[in-house]
């Protein structure tokens, strides 16, 4: 224990690290790569030689299933179905959320009127609505898109509202000194200042949309990655389940990365980093 603390202390004092220069970017990347390689090797050894059960597919089997499923074009079909639902629901919900959030943040009576209802609905997990939505709109695309739309509307709306509240009053006062009217203040002060919060809300809601999407596709669908994951269980095709899970993670990671870097590039003047 004492040795550990001494090591930690040295690291804290030099602020460089435990191993020689561990904070250097190259070392960090090297350690991450090592960790992934060792992890995959361990998985292969455990699943391939120690377990040897259909319940634990090896990485090699997973890659094989991925290639097989991708070559037959089925994987692309699932990805397309999932992404179409996600993008429609997320973008429409996001636009709604921005409009509602701005209205509630900038106009107090609107906020007071809707606040109790929103504070209540906020705590209902979006997926709980799947049953009434399928009763009302059937098991087709509409109910799934509506579910994602509902989820992302809420998150974007709350974030946008927080952004309006975080607006420094001095900025509004400064605009007033230059004789800006309420219209000018809304479009040239409130809206630009809120952009970073809106983008953050959109990113969070993208993550939540993926979660809702999978659940909805498991419960009521015949296409998509959630369906692939749930349906493969009936055939004990665990390698396909892993293909679905990993594709889903990669898609989530990629869409977050694309959206974040696009926003950081395009919205730099609004101080979004």
């Amino acid at each position: 224990m004492a040795v550990l603390f001494r090591t930690l202390r040295r690291e804290r004092q030099t602020l460089s690290g435990w191993l020689p220069n561990v904070s250097a970017p190259t070392t960090a990347v090297g350690l991450a790569v090592c960790s992934v390689v060792v992890g995959l090797a361990l998985w292969q050894v455990l699943a391939g030689w120690a377990m040897r059960s259909p319940l634990f597919p090896t990485p090699a089997e997973t890659v094989h299933a991925f290639v097989r499923h991708a070559a037959s074009g089925k994987l692309l079909g699932d990805v397309n179905a999932s992404m179409a639902r996600l993008l429609i629901g997320w973008s429409v919900g996001g636009l709604w959320g921005i409009a509602l959030g701005l209205a509630m943040g900038a106009f107090r009576p609107v906020r007071y009127y809707f606040e109790p209802a929103i504070q209540f609905l906020r705590f209902i997990p979006g997926i709980a609505w799947i049953t009434p939505f399928t009763v009302w709109w059937g098991v087709g695309e509409l109910s799934k898109v509506m579910l994602i739309l509902y989820t992302s509307t809420f998150i974007v709306m709350l974030n946008t509202m927080m952004g309006v509240f975080a607006l420094p009053p001095a900025r509004i006062r400064a605009a007033r000194c230059f004789e800006a009217g309420p219209f000018d203040i809304f479009f040239h002060v409130t809206l630009p200042s809120t952009v970073p919060f809106i983008v953050t809300g959109l990113r969070i809601s993208m993550g939540n949309s993926f979660m809702i999407l999978v659940a909805a596709e498991m419960l009521a669908s015949d296409r998509g990655l959630g369906f692939l994951i749930f349906n493969s269980r009936s055939y004990l095709a665990t390698d396909l389940i892993f293909v679905g899970i990993i594709t889903l993670g990669a898609l989530g990671l990629a869409s977050d990365f694309v959206f974040h870097s696009l926003a950081a590039r395009l919205l730099r003047r609004y101080r979004y980093r």
Binding site: A32, Y112, V135, M218, F242, L253
Partner: protein, 277 residues
């Protein structure tokens, strides 16, 4: 003694003095009038829309929902389902937040561990617990273990990422000043690092609680014989939308209550540990 009406007028015109007049003025302010008017008009609109709906069974109003609530309470069905859901969440959340806190603290404190865990954390973060449902059912069966494991998974990651961010955000000068006063490494850990991360831990726990509710509902819909998710799903089979609404509303109330508990813990008990910017 002045009459209530006089008081109300004085309060509304801003002439009244004293606590009673102030309280009355508060109630009569635009804000509180709108706070009350909002839910009332919305409930009214809901009831009206439901009455106007052709097949009322598909879109019950507030009064039908309340009757279904009374029915489910009387048959003890609601209590049993609520308890089943809460037990799963409680167990998974406890295991997940403790392990997430410990791993997050270690990873935040020791760079080697952080760099080794980094790729896994940032990949698994994008895979929701629901996506693991099929594997959880195969590995742990359809019993309680699988559902608790899923909630543990969803809680661990959120709490871990938050605690790591908390450790990273400790100002270096705070550590240096503790060291200048001759604090041992253990004292720095217990009196600087730990308190500074508690706020982040509770923020993570709040997010994790919301995710746990979503996870438990989906898991119960897909593989369970009890719980609020099961209630919601099974009511669909005989088109009892009123019972579905009861399940949804109870979920909202439970989510709100647990969030309040976590917020009050953060706000009062640990306020002095919060970082001030």
């Amino acid at each position: 003694m002045r009459g209530l009406a006089t008081m109300a007028v004085e309060a509304a015109t801003g002439e009244g003095q004293g606590a009673a007049a102030r309280a009355l003025r508060r109630v009569l302010s635009v804000r509180w009038v709108l706070y009350v008017a909002g839910p009332i008009t919305m409930l009214g609109a809901w009831q009206y829309a439901s009455d106007a709906f052709a097949t009322k069974q598909l879109f019950p109003g507030p009064s039908e929902t309340f009757r279904a609530f009374a029915r489910l309470v009387a048959s003890k069905q609601l209590a049993l389902d609520t308890l089943a859901s809460l037990r799963r969440i409680g167990l998974g959340f406890a295991i997940g937040s403790i392990s997430g806190f410990l791993v997050g603290l270690t990873a935040g404190y020791v760079p080697l561990v952080r760099h080794l865990l980094y790729p896994y954390i940032h990949f698994l973060r994008f895979i929701s617990a629901i996506a693991w449902l099929s594997m959880a059912l195969l590995w742990f069966g359809t019993g309680e273990t699988g559902k608790v494991a899923l909630i543990t998974y969803t809680t661990t990651f959120v709490v871990m990422v938050n605690v790591m961010a908390g450790v990273a955000s400790i100002p270096v000068n705070r550590l240096r000043s503790a060291r200048c006063f001759g604090a041992t490494e253990w004292q720095i850990f217990a009196q600087v690092v730990l308190p500074s991360t508690l706020g982040y831990f509770f923020d993570g726990a709040r997010l994790a609680m919301a995710n746990s509710f979503a996870t438990v509902v989906t898991a119960e819909m897909l593989a369970a014989q009890s719980g609020l998710g099961y209630l919601i799903l099974v009511s669909r089979q005989w088109l009892a939308v009123d019972e579905i609404f009861v399940g949804i509303i109870v979920l909202g109330i439970l989510g709100w209550l647990t969030d309040r508990v976590l917020v009050s813990l953060t706000d009062n008990r640990f306020r002095r540990h919060r970082l001030r910017s």
